[in-house]
């Protein structure tokens, strides 16, 4: 009993070289990924880093969006609404409903101040300024500092490291000595000296951070350059008569990219930390401008009675630091080929 299988006639057509679809059906391989795609895929798998990236995105949008849509003016003083605790409409949890413990009793601070109809998400400070707007403003300053530090890391740091590693010899020795001298003074001391010479404020903090933030990057880039420049493909490029500049851009930088990205992620939190520290001890951003450091300092004075004034900026600062650190960790794992499964 022979079963006859009816095969359609076109199954017997020969495959031609032009028939891509047919050729591909024979392939057994995952789509090939570039280095960046591969890193991105692994970063997305890392839950902590992925969440951090989203949180940072939201913080960025909120901080810079507040330039245009701030809930209140961060510098508008309103003494009759001073020291109001945080009130989020629709939330009735102590601490977020505008009530306050005073002399052992929980009272509605908003009613007491005659502030019905208004609400401050994070409350107000001792001058009645909206804390939420001020925190947003301070976050913006922290993020600007972070961007500036990144910029100098990428320009001065990478160039310095590349030149030092590529040139070698005397140039390298000299450049390394300079770095050693900068490294032998605690960063904060250099920054403070710099701020003393200029006036305290945003510009001097930026310059001071520019002066100190790139050193680590330069060292890492140099170490990596020393390794890469011994590779055959660099030798080949040299033999073919490529100029040093072109080798640097075409061969060194792409291979350094992971080191650079990872290190940037660790420069950012330290720059934010320096700014907060300086403002906290009173030599950074000065009032009426707000920064997370000055807000912490203001809040700390009233911590016993109005703890929310310190908790909010502290929380935001810690979240930013945490997010950058987690993202840095995630990127390191994503770019490190040793952790490949």
């Amino acid at each position: 009993m022979a079963d006859t299988v009816k095969l359609p006639e076109d199954s017997f057509k020969p495959i031609t070289a032009n028939d891509r679809a047919a050729l591909d059906s024979e392939k057994i391989a995952a789509p090939s990924l570039t280095f960046t795609q591969d890193a991105w895929r692994r970063l997305k798998k890392n839950r902590g880093a992925w969440v951090s990236l989203i949180i940072l995105g939201i913080i960025f949008i909120m901080a810079f969006g507040s330039m245009f849509f701030s809930p209140h003016n961060p510098n508008a003083v309103n003494p009759s609404y001073a020291n109001l605790p945080s009130k989020i409409p629709g939330v009735n949890i102590n601490g977020f409903n505008g009530t306050l413990v005073q002399a052992g009793q929980r009272i509605d601070a908003y009613q007491q101040a005659g502030a019905s109809g208004v609400h401050y998400i994070m409350g107000t400070d001792y001058l009645g300024r909206d804390l939420f707007s001020r925190v947003l403003y301070g976050t913006r300053i922290s993020l600007i500092i972070a961007l500036v530090a990144t910029f100098f890391d990428l320009t001065i740091g990478v160039t310095y490291g590349l030149v030092s590693g590529w040139k070698g010899g005397r140039v390298d020795t000299f450049m390394q000595r300079v770095i050693e001298i900068i490294l032998s003074i605690p960063n904060l001391v250099i920054i403070v000296l710099f701020i003393l010479i200029l006036k305290p404020g945003m510009l001097s903090i930026i310059l001071a951070i520019a002066l100190t933030s790139w050193v680590n990057m330069a060292r890492l880039v140099r170490a990596q350059t020393l390794e890469i420049k011994e590779q055959e493909y660099v030798l080949a490029a040299k033999t073919l008569g490529e100029s040093s500049l072109k080798i640097a851009f075409k061969h060194l930088l792409p291979n350094l990219s992971s080191v650079i990205i990872i290190n940037t992620m660790f420069t950012i939190p330290s720059a934010i930390f320096f700014e907060a520290t300086l403002s906290y001890i009173g030599i950074g951003i000065s009032s009426p401008q707000a920064s997370l450091g000055t807000l912490l300092n203001d809040g700390q004075k009233n911590f016993q009675f109005l703890p929310y004034q310190m908790w909010w900026p502290a929380l935001v600062l810690c979240i930013i630091m945490l997010a950058f650190n987690l993202l840095g960790d995630g990127l390191r794992d994503a770019f490190d080929p040793r952790t490949k499964e």
Binding site: I185, L188, V189, L196, Y280, D329
Partner: protein, 309 residues
């Protein structure tokens, strides 16, 4: 070794020389005098005060005098506290700072090693997760936030520790905890990563195959080898503690050099700032030198002489 040491010490002196020179001329650029009531003073009084501070001489002479003094540990007279030599001011204040700094370093690193080792041994369990969370929090929470929280909750609310001032050992507990958090977190992270690496190496397999006890393997083979690279982060940790101490000492009003530094910056006390800058860089240089030498001693693979024979 001796040659290496001599070279390093030469560079240390050169570095300090450059630090002194740069800070000296930077300070000369700044406006400000030791006079508190310039308008009320007569010309001869001003001249006398200038003479007392050595400000009547030309700048290059002042510089040479300062350099000669600095070698002997004399950093001039404070602008803020009249008749107080900076060296006296600082020598009475360096004790508390050193004590808190060293305590924080020792506590942080030892706890960090324990936490990191537990994390590596119990890889991918809840203990490991806790380790990671603790270390990432320790790195992310600035020491001054931690200091204020500790002061409030353990000092004021619980009443276990004094909230400020300087006295016996009990006064050092909170500042030490606040400063020690970062070293703890950093070293825990570092030890965990190193030890995970070491635990998967061949000689650990061999030790297991020989039938050594688990603790023996961990202690003799894994831990020791993972601790060597830890020496390299001692320098950065020292910087971290110095930076942190400036704020933490302020919060706990500890009469240390960090608190003095901030105070001097706020009052433009240039001689004290200069003296402190030099002391900070001296301490850091010494820490870096010691760690480099120690690294060479502990790990024979690193040839300190620079040339392999």
């Amino acid at each position: 070794m001796a040659k290496y040491l001599a070279k390093r010490i030469f560079y240390l002196i050169l570095t300090l020389f450059i630090v002194i020179t740069v800070t000296f001329f930077l300070m000369k650029l700044l406006p400000g005098t030791p006079l508190t009531n310039q308008a009320k003073l007569s010309k001869s009084q001003i001249a006398l005060i200038y003479q007392q501070y050595g400000l009547d001489k030309p700048v290059w002479q002042q510089y040479l005098l300062y350099l000669a003094g600095a070698v002997k540990g004399n950093f001039g007279t404070s602008f803020q506290f009249s008749d107080q030599p900076v060296s006296y001011l600082l020598s009475s204040r360096i004790g508390p700072s050193l004590q808190i700094g060293l305590q924080a370093m020792i506590l942080g690193v030892i706890l960090g090693i324990i936490v990191g080792a537990i994390g590596a041994m119990k890889q991918n369990t809840w203990a490991d997760t806790t380790t990671t969370v603790v270390s990432i929090l320790g790195i992310s929470i600035p020491s001054f936030v931690l200091a204020v929280l500790l002061q409030y909750y353990l000092g004021l609310k619980a009443g276990w520790f004094p909230i400020a001032e300087w006295g016996g050992f009990i006064y050092t507990v909170l500042p030490t905890l606040a400063l020690g958090a970062t070293p703890l977190a950093e070293s825990a992270r570092f030890v965990r990563t190193e030890m995970v690496d070491v635990l998967s190496s061949d000689y650990i397999e061999l030790a297991k195959a020989k039938g050594l006890s688990r603790m023996g393997i961990i202690y003799h083979h894994a831990l020791r080898n993972s601790l060597i690279p830890l020496i390299t982060i001692v320098g950065p940790l020292a910087v971290n503690i110095m930076t942190g101490s400036m704020v933490v000492e302020n919060i706990f009003s500890i009469p240390g050099i960090g608190e003095q530094f901030v105070k001097s910056v706020l009052t433009n006390d240039y001689p004290t700032i200069m003296g402190l800058t030099i002391i900070y860089s001296f301490m850091l240089c010494v820490v870096l030198l010691i760690t480099d030498i120690l690294y060479g001693i502990v790990d024979p693979r690193i040839r300190i002489t620079g040339k392999a024979n």
